[in-house]
Structure formats: structure tokens, C-alpha cells
Symmetry: D2
């Protein structure tokens, strides 16, 4: 039985990663974000693609005291010897509700883009919003609980993608949804940043069924920041005591 | 009760990260590795520091079919709907044995560096190796199961750190250990790459009790590569069947 | 802000669990399986219910070298100091594919039971199998990769539920599916044990959206068995080397 | 390459667990706690051992809104589709600080018991407390943040172990520590319940390096209770908002 892989191999004298000599061709010559893209996509991104990709990772790295950041800090409080456990606990919250928008938006757009010839994004968008409305489904990436008028990340990421020449059909369709949805829904909602990130990642050709993976990678950096801060200036014990002391027994 | 944080906050119009305006000051302007450094260290690294830091992340991202990569793939096989679970399962192997060398080496060197005036690294190294030998302890980062003569990452990382002007006491002491240990142990072992990474991270001023966190961040990228490959060309089922079909019952 | 709970509270002199005095009313007086049922259902099970419930947990505890057991052992190999990490890694494979049948079957049956008056289970079963066939869906719990004729757990669990007087509509409908599906599908498949477990748990009145939780609890015991065996007579290193040494580089 | 195991195997007609026929010898005939003991210890416990073992699991199952319970609930809030992820996140807090006392106490006692002839537990205890005091180490299992006078679980577990004839050297030594420590420390601390649990598990002959595993198994049941309650009457969102709304930016 053989186990094929295109990722990494090593022997006594050399380490190979993605078919490259790790020590001589990659270390000091490829950035970390660039390598993450390469590992998943199986091809090295261009500098423009890398810039947009890293902007997405930066956009998704942290949102303050999210449930995942709190869970990671509480886990470090309980098991301070296991940084890997605290990080894993934080990432396990990277599911459908708080971290899923990126993948959901990318996938939603991808399904529409696949069957469009790209002539009329406003038309495609109008129909998609109508259909979602009729079926009482939400459009992934449309609306935000805090940024009710505009998510500040949205225009920046659109502009970056245009500047770097990687503004493709997913971003175009998402932008069209931002333009036409008020006609159908009767009110204007912002395109949220996590959704634009999903559109941008899809335009970069990354697999839509792994977009959540990039959100998780970005969040891993944010969670490390929280764990470092928890070591320097802990809040976990206060969170725990706030809940425990205000617990009321109700059968 | 207040919960202080220096990481992220947001309001209706803006998102702030590390005291910066996320959308306008960070996205497209800071790299992902650079941001990860900043999040943990609380200060923005210089370009030279960033280059060495990213070289470390690149060096640690993947080592082929490690136990952690196999565990992540088997978890994806069992629960394909949960990328976060597969990634977390892989990271949970980031403990003392296969991913701990970076932190162990950084911590070991740090304890020696703190009490040295830096005049005589060879002397400090000689004494440390002698002491470890007397107590039958291994020196973290010395020796490698595969790269028995030289780990190809080691000279590259030393050179990079020198080139970027961030070659500090931890790398100097580690290099000295590489020089003097044959006198004490009677045979020559290579300085392994994971150990040099730990020395380099410590020289960058990163907290030694979180060095494992960077190994985990690096490995998160490698694991995403494995999960993407597992989706395209799976081996998890073959691994499982290889074990299950060769199981023998022995009480 | 108050945080209501009906589970546990404590003060200086007493610990209360589920409204009972833990030390005096529960320890030594309630079994562990019984307590697990009580914690989730919010009511104490009868002795007959407890017997069937524990039989389900016993049935689901272990299936040898499953992907989850292998993942747990590999994680212990990498991070031997963190039993919680190895256990968590094993449980993370408790998703849709290898451990989901119990919940899927329970939920599938529950949706049919809710809209039936219970007069004619064969009729309900026939229609459900027809509909699934027309939509090319599988019936959860029907068929098994290894036990192609009969899963030995199935008749035992049916008999136990009858003996203890907790044979309800979910088991009745599942049994009917076992009876009538050959008429529709043209071949006879076994009702698998994990599916009967789901039907039995649903008949015990446990919440169908948490049935996977019981499979996970059962598996936690099996995984502890694997971790104990891994400590005594390890196979993790051999699994890792078998994969790594048979790795072939293919881009 | 063969992979030996004494846990489980199966073929087309039968499933074997621990060398028994799962369907005919175990289901309905062995309790779940009994099976968990058997899986780890490799031998079937007596009824008396089972009763004490299950009392330990019951004692450790839940302590209300612990950090691990809160982390599990927050993870369910973020990723409601992944019960396994929420359970795993909760278990990952089962480390040194909040769930480690059971193992720490068992191990501490075991090291002393191994080198004692059992004639004079008070003498062994006195010396151990003196030594710990001299080295400024805490005695695992001595003292409790809430139950400052007596942990209500302690006398109950001592009595149960005596009643069932499984009161062995670990419990005897722990009891002696409870008796003699005031002479040395100058004040009386309670023996806490988690510590007695560790002593009882060690007296049952379970491997001291896996005692944490039983605490985790027990806690898995408690966490399922919390997840079920979170589904019925959620508090996760309120915990998150309490923290997030009281966040203050401090560099």
C-alpha cells in the first residue's frame, strides 16, 4: 500500500515541501501567507494574489471577545500547560454561526457563478435575492449585527482586489447583490466583510469547500494573540466568576 | 466588571485591531505573518524581524505524514462536515513529543541566557552540556532522527538571522552548543531545525512560554494543505483499512 | 444578568446536582449511565429504561481500530502529556460518517413517528422506503459494510427493549422498515446496530438532536480503553511509520 | 506489520469486545461504568468495585458553571451543528488546574504507597506533609476554594469504600494526611472530594497515569447535560455579550 502526497517528504540530507527544497528555495524567500495559499491551492500565488489573500487573513484574524476567543481563554485557565488544547478549543467554535459566513458566501456565489456567462451580474443577483426571499433564506454575507450601514472592510477589499487585478466573478456578483437587493427587499443592508472575504478567496481560485479553513488559519493568529494576552493580563477567571456567581438554580 | 483587552474592538463604523484601524491601516498593508507576530508580541516587527519570523513559520509548516497530519486526515474521513474538527485534532498532537522541540529549545536557552553576561557562549554551552549529561537529560534541539548529520534548515536560519541583524544570544548559545558538545559527549550531533527555530523566536523577543503557539500556527497551514489534499486524493480510508485489516486480537 | 441552570450548584457545605444532594442522594445510589440519562433528559430513568440505555452505550462503546481510535492513539503518541487532547481528538471524528448513524436514524424515525397515528407501521415504513428510493437517499441504519446479513446487536436490543417495556414507536417503525424494505428495494439489508440504538434512544424520550452526544459518551469509554492500551502496548508509532515509509511523492 | 489489540474486533457475524461476545455477553448484562472500568483495567470489576467506581464518576460529573462547561456552551453557540466539537472543547479544559486534582492526588499517594510497608500511615503522612511544606509544594487534594471546612463528598466516599471492602492503602494514607496535617501546617484543611476520588481509583488498581481519563469520562456526562440545557435554555449568548459589552480597550 502506497500513500501518495504532493506536500512534503524528507530524507537524511534534504526536506522537500511542495516539490521545492524547503531550506534553499522557500525559507526566507516565500512569505507565510503565500505558503499557506500554495499548500492548499497546489500552486504558488502571484504577488498580487498574495497581497489580497493576506488582506483577507488580516481581515478575519480577530473580532475581539468573540465566543471562540473567550472559550480559548477559559480553556487556558483550566489547562494552562496545554496551549494546543486552548487553541484547538477556540478553533472548534469556527463553525456555521460565527465563522461560517466566509465559506457560506463563497459557496453561495460559486454556485451562481458556475451557471452564469457573466454578462449580467445585476440580473443574476436580482434573481438570486428574489429566490432567497421567496424561500425565506438569508443571503450569506448580506447584513451585519454591528456594522448596520457599512462594514469598513468591504470597500477596502473590493478596492484591493481591483488594484491587484484579481477582481473576478464572485466579487462582481457580490457587489451586484449589494447594488440590487434593496429593490427586492425594500431596505438596504451592508455587504459584510466576512462575505467579501469569501468572494475574494473564491476569485483567487481557492476550493470553496475549504474556505472555512482560511478563516480558521486567520483566527489561529488572533487566538494566539488572546492566549498571549491571557498570560500577561488574564480575564478568564473573571469571566468564570461572573457566570458562576450569577448562576441561579432553576429546574 | 470590565474585561480589558489590547487586541480588538469594534463599533458601528470601525473595527480596531491592536489600536490600528483594521480596514485602513492594516488590510493590504501588513502581512499575515507580521500581524501574527504583532498580535503576540504587542509590537510591530521590523521588516528584518518579519523575514526571519516568516522563515521560521515556513520551516515548521509541514513534515509530511506526521502523526498529526494522519490524525487530521482520519478525523476528516470520519467527520467530513467539520473542517474545524479535523484541524483541531491535528493541532492537538502539537505537544511535547513531535512539536515541542521549538518551545523546549527556546526555553532551555532562555534560562541560560538570562544568567549569562554573554562574554563566553562556548563556556556556558560546555557547562550546560556537561550538566545535562550528568543528569542524563537530553539537550532540546540537539540531534534528529532523520537528519543525522545536518538538518538543512539549520545553516539557512543562522544565515538569515545574521543577514537581517537579529542574531542574538539564544542563537549564539545554540550555535556554541553545536560547536562544543562533541568535546563532552564524544560524538557529533546536528542542531535540529526545530531547535534553531526556537532560538530564533526567542531572539526576536517573543515570549518563551508561547513558542509552541507559533509552531502550532505554522502547522495549521500545513494541516490545511493535508486536508485539501485529503479532499482531492484521500488516503485516510487506506490508512484506516491498513490498520484494521492487520489487527490481531491479543488479550 | 443571571445565568439559570438546573444542573449543578454548590455552597460551602453542600453540592447539589439536578436538585439532589450529590453526596447523600446520588453517590453510591445512582449508576453512572443513569446519571448521564438524567443530566440530559432532566428526569431520572426507571430501572428498565436504565438497562436499555446502558445496553445502548455498551453497544456503541467501541468498534476496534476505527479512524477515531487511531487518531486518538496518534495524538497520544505526539502529545503523551495530554490525555484530554488525545481523547478530544478521538471524539472529533464523531461526525456524520462513522458515528452519525445513531443520530441520523433516530431523527429520521422521529420525523415519521411525529406524523403517524401508529396504526400501521408497515404502511409508514413502505412509503418512507419508497420515497427514499425515489429521491436516491439511503435509509439511515439500513445496511452495514461488515455485517451484511445481520448485525448481532440488532435482535438483542429489540428483545431487551421488549423485555423492559420500553419498545415504542421508533423501534416499531424501524423493525417495520426491516420487514418491508425488500419489497421495495428488491434485496434484503440488515438493520444495523447503531440505527437500532438511535431508535431505542428516541423511544426513551431523549432529545433527537443530541443522540450523537450519547454515541460520543459511549465512545469516550472505548477511547479511554484504547489510550490505556496505547500506554501499555503502543501501536501509534507503527501506524505512523507504516504511512510515512510508504509515502510516495506525487505532485 | 500487525497491530495487536485486546479491545475489539468484528467479523461478518459477530462483534467481540474484551474477548466477550458483545451482543450476547455484554449488552444488557454489564453496566456502562462497569464496562469503562473493564476497558481501561483489562479486567471486569466486582460489584463492590463497580459501585465505588460509579460513585467516583458521579462525584466528578459536574460542578456547575465551571470554565469547561462555559467553554463547551460558547462553542455550541458558535458551531451548533457540531456537538462533538462543543464536547471536545469542554474536555480540553480537563487539564492541570480544574480537573487535574484527581490524577495528581492519586499519583502523589501512589508514589508514597509504593515505598511503604503500610504499618504506619500516620508516620508516612506526617513526613510527606513536612517535606511538601519544606519545599513549598501543595499536597494535591488538600484544601478546597469553596468547601473550606469539609467537602461533603469526602466522608461519603470513605464510607462507601469501607462498606464495599475496597478501602486500600491510598485511601488509608489520604485519610492519615487529613488527620496529621494540622500538626505540621498549624491549621486544618479539608480533604477535597476530587482528591479522595483519585485515592479511591488508585485503590481500585486503575493505572495512576490515566486517572485524569476517568475524570474526563465523568465530565463528558456533565458536559452533555450542559449542552442539552444550552439547547433548551441557552446562556451562551448572554455570557458572550456580558464579556463583549464590558470590554475596554487597554493597550
Amino acid at each position: 500500500m502506497n500513500f501518495p502526497t504532493g506536500i512534503g517528504t524528507s530524507d537524511a540530507d534534504s526536506i522537500s515541501l511542495l516539490g521545492q527544497d524547503l531550506a534553499h528555495d522557500l525559507m526566507g524567500k516565500v512569505g507565510f501567507g503565500e505558503l499557506a495559499f500554495w499548500l492548499v491551492a497546489g500552486r504558488r500565488p502571484t504577488p498580487g494574489e498574495t497581497r489580497v489573500f493576506e488582506a483577507v487573513l488580516v481581515a478575519l484574524a480577530d473580532h475581539g471577545f468573540t465566543p471562540t476567543a473567550i472559550a480559548a481563554r477559559l480553556t487556558l485557565l483550566s489547562a494552562p500547560e496545554s496551549v494546543q488544547g486552548a487553541l484547538a478549543a477556540g478553533l472548534l467554535g469556527g463553525g456555521s454561526r460565527f465563522l461560517g459566513v466566509t465559506e457560506d458566501a463563497g459557496r453561495f456565489l460559486h454556485e451562481l457563478v458556475e451557471f452564469s456567462d457573466g454578462d449580467d451580474w445585476d440580473g443574476v443577483a436580482r434573481e438570486a435575492v428574489r429566490e432567497a426571499r421567496a424561500e425565506k433564506r438569508l443571503i450569506p454575507g448580506l447584513g451585519h449585527p454591528v456594522h448596520k450601514v457599512e462594514d469598513p472592510r468591504t470597500p477596502v477589499l473590493f478596492a484591493l482586489a481591483r488594484e491587484e487585478g484579481v477582481f473576478g466573478p464572485h466579487l462582481a456578483l457580490f457587489e451586484a447583490i449589494g447594488r440590487v437587493h434593496p429593490e427586492v427587499l425594500g431596505r438596504k443592508l451592508p455587504l459584510n466583510g466576512a462575505g467579501v472575504c469569501g468572494a475574494a478567496l473564491a476569485d483567487l481560485g481557492l476550493p470553496v469547500d475549504l474556505l472555512r479553513g482560511f478563516a480558521l488559519l486567520a483566527r489561529a493568529a488572533g487566538l494566539l494573540g488572546h492566549l498571549a494576552e491571557e498570560r500577561r493580563r488574564p480575564i478568564g477567571m473573571d469571566v468564570y466568576l461572573t457566570v458562576d456567581r450569577n448562576a441561579t438554580y432553576e429546574p
